[in-house]
Symmetry: C2
Subunit: 203 residues, 2 copies
Amino acid sequence: MPVSIEPRKRPRQARAAATVEAILEATAHILEREGLGALNTNNIAVRAGVSVGSLYQYFPTKQAILTEIIRRKRRRLVDGIERALRAVDGATLADGVDGLIAATIEHQIAWPRLARTLEAAEAFLPLERETEALKQSLAAHIGGFLAEHGIADVEVATQDLIALVRGMIDAAGLAGETDRAFLARRIGRAARGYLMRSQADTV
Amino acid sequence: MPVSIEPRKRPRQARAAATVEAILEATAHILEREGLGALNTNNIAVRAGVSVGSLYQYFPTKQAILTEIIRRKRRRLVDGIERALRAVDGATLADGVDGLIAATIEHQIAWPRLARTLEAAEAFLPLERETEALKQSLAAHIGGFLAEHGIADVEVATQDLIALVRGMIDAAGLAGETDRAFLARRIGRAARGYLMRSQADTV
DNA sequence: ACCTGAACACCGTTCAAGT
DNA sequence: ACCTGAACACCGTTCAAGT
């Protein structure tokens, strides 16, 4: 039987909302400091200052907690990308790509271990459909921008760009890098190299 | 207390060696088809055709089984890279990079879900030191090659190249791509774009 | 040396009782 | 409506008995 990952009920009172936030904060904290292996519901409840029973009032499974954290993070990513695209509206391809890279770095580098751990956690969660929807959404946004600038094979290009940007940011985050401008320049070189030759291919 | 991940004892008889191989094969099979969430030791034992007791004779923990699979996979990657580097000895930078990309694709794209799942599994395993050693080894090999061709900031360049190559291959694998030549060409564009501008920067 | 499977321990989840 | 924590179930691991 598929594991339930949907929140169980909405908190109606302020203290209940605080309980939910405390559970999510405790989970993120444990993931960033100790990793997935150290995460269990007792752990979470103790750090959140509530009982396990309360935890299970709002989340039917441990995986539902992880799912909520992932969904919030994804929402922030999409918001960040949308904001970046509005900001670079009418800009050149190179400037636009730089804006997208900066927005993604901003989103991904703050808690590198948490980011990596959440990606690992996805292997346990039945989120394929949502992941697909996220990709579609990013593809629509980013692909639209690329198409406006004459990039061929937009779907593949979008997949490739997202993959190389994420790969390089994750590696930098795990290596402890904090100089975002330096990282953005390197990613920009790879991305523009990819895109310029992609344009050339279409000539 | 740290989880033990070292093999418990070496098989001495042929049937024991067969048992170990069956356990590893069963684990890889479950990971590729059903993912980490479906992996448990009963599962593994049943599919391997042995009892749980036998499994625990050779592996002290479930994580030790995952560790052995990861170690074998890493060994194959290093071998493949070394072979590729010997093959492109004396070649141009562009040809050498193409050779490295092809070797990495060959290694990573065969069982894309298994590859992704193993990366996720690393979040549970105390493999930091080995992961660091692997990076050092790859950095020594690939960095040496890059340095011979006048690439600046070799350590960062190596990290970036590995990250973008892996990121793009993983994404392609999960998207179900099977055309390795097409994928190699796209990765080559990004990698050469990164490196050529990197060279230009040094002028 | 190798194998088996019932027994034990831990952690995810439930539920009866409370405010 | 929300909270608590003891009880239950499942799966990782052990161990006594077997070939």
